[in-house]
C-alpha cells in the first residue's frame, strides 16, 4: 500500500500531480497550506498504484511516494 508525502514548504498547489495521476488517486485538499494554497492528498487510500508519475511530474519536488505511513514535513 502506497501513500504520498507532501512537502508543504515547496508545494504550490498546481494540481499537476492530481491531473496526471493515472488512477486519479489524488485530489486537492480543501484546506490551505501556509503558502495559501490547496495541497494534493490521496483521495481514497489504496487507489494509488505506486507508479510515481506524480513524483516525476511535480515541478516542485514536493511529492514523494512511499510505502510508509504519511507524515507532513
Amino acid at each position: 500500500m502506497h501513500t504520498i508525502l507532501i512537502d508543504e514548504r515547496w508545494c504550490k498547489g498546481c494540481k499537476l500531480c492530481a491531473v496526471n495521476c493515472p488512477p486519479k488517486a489524488l485530489h486537492m485538499a480543501e484546506r490551505f497550506t501556509k503558502r495559501g494554497i490547496h495541497p494534493p492528498e490521496l483521495a481514497l487510500n489504496g487507489r494509488c498504484n505506486g507508479c510515481r508519475l506524480c513524483e516525476l511530474l511535480c515541478p516542485d519536488f514536493a511529492i514523494t511516494v512511499t510505502e510508509e505511513a504519511g507524515v507532513h514535513l
Partner: protein
C-alpha cells in the same frame, strides 16, 4: 494631508492591481495627488508582494510608506512583516482565511475577501472586495471614484463581476465600520 495605504499579500493575489485602482480613484476621479509604488522579490509569483499608495493634496515627496494609515493584508507573512509599520490609528483589514493571527494593539477588521470572491465565482476579485472594504472603512477615496476606477481598469466582460465584488466589499466594510 498625506495618507499612506499599504495593500500586501502573496504575489498573484492582485495586491498591486488593487493599489493601482485605488491610486487611480484618488488621482483621476477624486482629483487628488497620488503616488503608487510596490515592492516584490524575484518570487513575484508566490512570494511576498506589497503595494503602497500615498494620497495627498499637494506634491508628494518621499513616495513610500513611513507608517500606514490603512493596511490591507492578504497573507500571514505580509501581515507579520508590515503590521509593524503602521500609525497607532491605522485601519487594518485582513483576510482571516489567509491571516491567521493578528496579535497587535489595533482594531483589526477581518474581511473574508477570498471566500467572498470565490462565492462570486472568481477568486481573482478578492483584491476588489478588499478595495470595497477599504473604501467603506477608511474613506481615503470616494465610493464613486473607486467604482469608476475599478470599472475603467477591467475588460468589459468582467465589469459586472468586479462591480459585485466591490459592492460586496463595501458592504462587508460598512458592516465592520459599525
Amino acid at each position: 494631508m498625506r495618507q499612506e495605504i499599504r495593500i500586501c499579500g502573496f504575489g498573484g493575489q492582485g495586491v498591486i492591481t488593487g493599489a493601482v485602482i485605488l491610486g487611480k480613484a484618488a488621482a483621476v476621479y477624486d482629483g487628488k495627488i497620488a503616488c503608487q509604488t510596490q515592492s516584490y522579490g524575484p518570487e513575484a509569483r508566490g512570494g511576498a508582494a506589497s503595494a503602497m499608495v500615498v494620497i495627498a493634496d499637494g506634491p508628494i515627496g518621499y513616495p513610500g510608506v513611513h507608517a500606514a494609515d490603512v493596511l490591507v493584508a492578504m497573507s500571514q507573512e505580509a501581515f507579520t512583516r508590515y503590521a509593524r509599520e503602521v500609525k497607532p490609528e491605522c485601519i487594518i483589514i485582513v483576510d482571516p482565511d489567509t491571516v491567521f493571527s493578528w496579535d497587535i494593539p489595533h482594531i483589526v477588521h477581518p474581511v473574508r475577501s477570498t471566500k467572498i470572491a470565490e462565492e462570486l465565482g472568481n477568486i481573482v476579485v478578492a483584491n476588489i472586495v478588499m478595495l470595497g472594504a477599504l473604501t467603506a472603512l477608511s474613506k481615503v477615496v470616494s465610493r464613486e471614484a473607486i467604482l469608476a476606477a475599478t470599472l475603467a481598469s477591467v475588460p468589459a466582460r468582467f465589469k459586472e463581476l468586479n462591480r459585485s465584488a466591490l459592492e460586496a466589499g463595501l458592504e462587508a466594510g460598512t458592516g465592520q465600520a459599525a
